[in-house]
């Protein structure tokens, strides 16, 4: 299996960091990086983008409700409905996908983000153990799960 | 064209001989096989070959020394060095002494055949 490089992972991490910094002026802190399995439970709100082409697999951005609410408030959004919270996490995933395209090239096919509500265990798609990177932002935990394979 | 094959490996000697016999190099015929430089010189004095294929690393007397001796003969033969290339300087020395070409081991039958045709050309 073709492994991802540290730079590849860094790219996704930077995308999340950049998004949060741009909206809240505060960078999240990376708290851990490890290999994930189904015992790793994600947070309540999830955005998933799938990749085809040079890379295949998916990336999951997972955030708790409190974090998303805070994010929306910081963006002067008063409608804190579930739909809007899901949109917000989908937006982060979307930004991340856009960054990936910039670096991995235009022949990468990237799906529109799928938004999921509900904390679940991580399901590996292409890697036996996807990479999990956890963040902390304003005391809220969040995680990105990179389950990608270079063709 | 009278050909003398010099190589310490029996495998290479028979290989060269087989290529000469099987690839229609009709004007070339083998007059001797030698395992080292000393044997080569002895055979060369008796048979006066026109063409010699020469290994460089051999026991007793190495290729460079042998070429030096061969070039002192009244009608020095046309020499093709056939050797594994582990030292370009040695190969260059061999050619400076008068060898006309270098064929790197391992070689294909065709490479050997074409190289032999080339060294058979008069100067």
């Amino acid at each position: 299996m073709a492994t991802l490089t540290e730079d590849d992972l860094q790219l996704f991490v930077d995308a999340v960091k950049h998004y949060l910094k741009a909206t809240s002026k505060q960078e999240p802190e990376i708290t851990s990086a490890f290999l994930g399995d189904s015992s790793v439970i994600a947070h309540e709100f999830n955005g998933i983008v799938s990749f085809m082409g040079g890379y295949s697999g998916q990336i999951l951005v997972s955030m708790p409700e409190g974090m998303l609410r805070e994010l929306l408030v910081l963006q002067h959004e008063h409608d804190l409905s579930e739909t809007n919270l899901l949109d917000a996490v989908g937006e982060v995933a979307n930004t991340l996908a856009g960054n990936a395209r910039k670096v991995f090239g235009p022949d990468l096919e990237i799906s529109v983000p799928t938004r999921l509500r509900g904390a679940q265990g991580i399901t590996a798609r292409v890697r036996p153990r996807p990479y999990v990177i956890t963040f902390r932002w304003h005391r809220h935990p969040a995680l990105v799960c990179v389950d990608l394979e270079r063709r | 064209m009278r050909l003398l094959i010099v190589d310490d490996s029996n495998l290479i000697r028979t290989r060269i001989a087989r290529v000469v016999e099987s690839t229609g190099l009709e004007e070339i015929f083998i007059v001797g096989l030698a395992r080292d430089g000393r044997e080569a010189l002895q055979i060369a004095r008796e048979t006066r070959p026109d063409v010699v294929t020469m290994d460089l690393t051999m026991p007793e007397m190495d290729g460079v020394a042998t070429i030096r001796e061969l070039m002192r003969m009244p009608h020095p033969p046309s020499i093709l060095v056939v050797s594994a290339l582990n030292d370009k300087s040695t190969a260059i020395t061999a050619l400076r002494l008068g060898a006309r070409g270098f064929l790197n081991k391992p070689f294909t039958d065709d490479e050997l055949g074409l190289a032999l045709l080339d060294v058979c050309k008069p100067l």
């Binding site: 490089t5 991490v13 990376i30 708290t31 | 093709l80 790197n104 100067l123």
Partner: protein
């Protein structure tokens, strides 16, 4: 571009001059013009000749017509003299002779004017007198002849000398009458002739002027034609040069011709400068240019090789393989003045002219990317080979030990993962650091076991992992970003272990307890010897099983092997001195490691590893603790030697330089202690300065293994 496969294609600047018929076409205009020039010149010259000749004739005529006037006078004078002589009765002979010659000359000359004749000239030599052609002249001549005929008749008797006085009288009368008239006529003739002569001279001048003018025009025309065709030729040459220059400026390869004295030709592509890091000039010597870039030996080989190509006996296509410059690594300065390492390839092709090698066409290419790719492929191949050899080694290793290793390794690595995962719940830097230390110990143990089984690839990978962890640990502030690489390293190890798991390892083959223990410990000591060689030290090992030890349950446990490895490595890195130090201390150059296993009456297994090295040195440990800054100096001073030595099992302590795969990294004893404690045993040490140390492990009676830990 591709380098010509057959240099003979390059080598054909054969005579491709103009075909013979085109010579006429190319130079027709000039040839015509030059011919015309010659014709005009010749024409003018001939006309000149002719006219000059005519003018000379005219001069004779003018001269002689002048002389006629003088003769007419002389004739009259001679006649009168003769008459006087006769009257005086003197001899008339001389006068008559004078008269006769004058009359004769006058007569011949006058007739000459009429019909053309040869007459005596002014100096007495005969000249040809042309007949007067001009109408006016002819009339004068005819008039003169008509008057002269009777005059001549009257003179005849006088000349014969038989003239009567009356006859003489008649002649004198004629003379008196005609002299003046004759003078006038001859005057007229002279005038006419002079006019003619002047006209001719004018004509000559005109002809000459016209001739010169024509010649001049012709010359200008030739000049114009010649210059314009010269200019056209120059323009064509310039166009060719321009194209050459464009090619040489834009071609990516370095191209130039090399003369037999190794100097560069005039046409050098721009890339040569870029590739060499400095722009060469025509006439520079290639060895001088390459000198600073190559090793001396390579440079000599290159020079010899180029010489070979200039030697006619060498067959060009049979020497390409020994080109010493087919791939050379050079360091040059790039446009930013930064040093740049690259790989250059020089190829040399003969340029033949008339069967002789005149030049070598040198083609330079930057093959850095190709070489990098090849190196990458080589590295990958090497890795694949190493992986394969790992497998082979693994298969060759005793399968019991390997089976244990594989089973435990995965557990260990998953444990590492759990630790990494737990980082997210830890707040303080200190806590994070502690977790990283745990990870480090696990990886370190893994490395030791892999090395003991000769699984070099795994040991190397674990070593790299250790490096990363160490760097993280050494940082003042832990940066989350640097954690990202850890799962990648971990995953690499897990993948390799997964491969091993697929190898069928028959558990039945070497379950003989004595053999397993023997093998595992023999391997542990074998690894120790290898470590020694890498550190420049020599070690002999001894393995002693005391009564009953071989049958002890622990003795067949591969975990014991991994403990022994850690201890042995520690002893070699820190205890055993270099051969020189040992000689100086009066010890044999090779150190001795003795591993002793003994079964105690209580059922415990006691393991001693004794070395005959320098022993534990409290002073060195103190200094190290000071360097590490773990304690303030004052507090260090208060600690006893024993307390100081107790620090050596603390995480992060090491007195050896960090580095090689065998070096302790200071977690050797730390890891051993952790493991021993985990196994329910204890660790002790004894040391005698200058004579060596003994590390002892006491393990409980039963092989009480913890169940494999599962990640939380």
């Amino acid at each position: 571009m591709t380098v010509p496969a057959h240099p003979s294609h390059v080598a054909s600047p054969a005579a491709s001059g103009p075909a013979p018929h085109s010579f006429w076409q190319r130079y027709r205009v000039i040839i015509v013009a030059v011919t015309l020039f010659i014709v005009i010149d010749l024409g003018v010259l001939m006309l000149n000749f002719y006219t000059s000749f005519k003018i000379a004739e005219d001069a004779v005529s003018v001269n002689l017509s002048g002389r006629q006037r003088m003769l007419s006078q002389r004739m009259t004078k001679a006649l009168l003299t003769l008459e006087l002589e006769r009257r005086d009765g003197r001899d008339t002979g001389p006068a008559r002779e004078e008269l006769r010659s004058v009359v004769d000359l006058f007569d011949r000359t006058l007739h000459g004017f009429n019909t053309g004749a040869t007459v005596p000239g002014g100096d007495g030599n005969p000249v040809y007198l042309t007949a007067v052609a001009d109408d006016g002249g002819r009339k004068v001549v005819a008039d003169a002849l008509a008057r002269w005929a009777p005059y001549r008749l009257a003179l005849a008797p006088v000349l014969e000398g038989r003239a009567s006085p009356s006859q003489l009288g008649i002649a004198v009368a004629y003379a008196r009458n005609e002299n003046l008239r004759m003078l006038e006529l001859m005057n007229d003739l002279t005038s006419v002739l002079e006019v003619n002569a002047t006209r001719r001279a004018d004509f000559l001048r005109m002809v000459q002027s016209v001739g010169i003018l024509l010649a001049l025009l012709n010359f200008i025309y030739i000049l114009y034609k010649f210059l314009s065709s010269l200019r056209r030729a120059d323009q064509a040459t310039e166009a060719v040069n321009e194209e050459n220059r464009e090619i040489l400026d834009s071609v990516r390869e370095g191209l130039f011709l090399l003369h037999p004295d190794f100097t560069l030709g005039t046409q050098i592509s721009r890339s040569v400068g870029t590739l060499l890091g400095r722009a060469p000039r025509p006439g520079d010597r290639l060895p001088d240019l390459l000198g600073p870039l190559l090793f001396e030996k390579d440079l000599k080989d290159a020079r010899d090789y180029m010489e070979l190509l200039f030697s006619p006996h060498v067959l060009e296509n049979l020497v390409h393989s020994i080109n010493p410059l087919s791939c050379v690594e050079v360091k040059t300065l790039n446009a930013l003045g930064k040093e740049e390492r690259k790989f250059l390839s020089f190829s040399f092709n003969r340029v033949l002219d008339d069967g002789r090698v005149r030049h070598l066409l040198v083609t330079m290419q930057d093959i850095t990317a190709r070489v990098a790719l090849e190196q990458q492929i080589d590295a990958e191949r090497g890795r694949a080979r190493q992986e394969f050899s790992s497998l082979v080694q693994a298969l060759g290793a005793d399968t019991g030990a390997l089976r244990h290793f594989v089973a435990r390794a995965e557990t260990q690595l998953l444990q590492v993962n759990s630790l990494l995962r737990s980082l997210s719940e830890q707040a303080g830097t200190a806590e994070v650091r502690k977790t990283l230390e745990k990870v480090f110990r696990l990886v370190h143990t893994f490395k030791g076991e892999a090395a003991a089984l000769h699984l070099d690839l795994l040991a190397d990978m674990a070593h790299n992992f250790e490096d990363e962890l160490q760097q993280l640990h050494n940082k003042d502030r832990l940066n989350g970003d640097s954690l990202i690489q850890l799962p990648l390293q971990l995953e690499g190890l897990l993948e390799k272990i997964a491969v091993f798991k697929q190898i069928p390892l028959n558990p039945g083959t070497s379950d003989d307890p004595a053999q397993t223990a023997d093998h595992a410990l023999a391997r542990a000591l074998q690894l120790a010897s290898r470590a020694a060689a890498d550190l420049g030290k020599q070690v002999h090992t001894r393995l002693v099983f005391e009564d009953g030890a071989l049958e002890h349950p622990w003795a067949q446990d591969p975990e014991l092997g991994s403990l022994v490895i850690q201890l042995a490595r520690n002893a070699i890195a820190h205890g055993i001195e270099t051969p020189a130090e040992r000689s100086a201390a009066g010890k044999p150059e090779a150190g001795l490691l003795t591993l002793t296993l003994a079964r105690r009456a209580s059922g415990e297994l006691e393991i001693h590893l004794r070395d005959d090295g320098r022993g534990l040195q409290p002073a060195a440990v103190r200094q190290r603790l000071l360097d590490l800054g773990w304690y303030p100096p004052a507090e260090l001073d208060r600690l006893s030697d024993l307390q100081i030595l107790g620090q050596i099992t603390k995480p992060g302590f090491s007195t050896a330089e960090p580095g090689g795969i065998h070096a302790g990294r200071g977690v050797g004893l730390d890891a051993v202690l952790q493991e021993v404690v985990r196994l329910g045993g204890r660790l002790w040490a004894r040391s005698s300065p200058g004579r060596g140390s003994t590390f002892g492990i006491v393990l409980p009676g039963e092989s009480r293994r913890e169940p494999a830990r599962t990640p939380a």
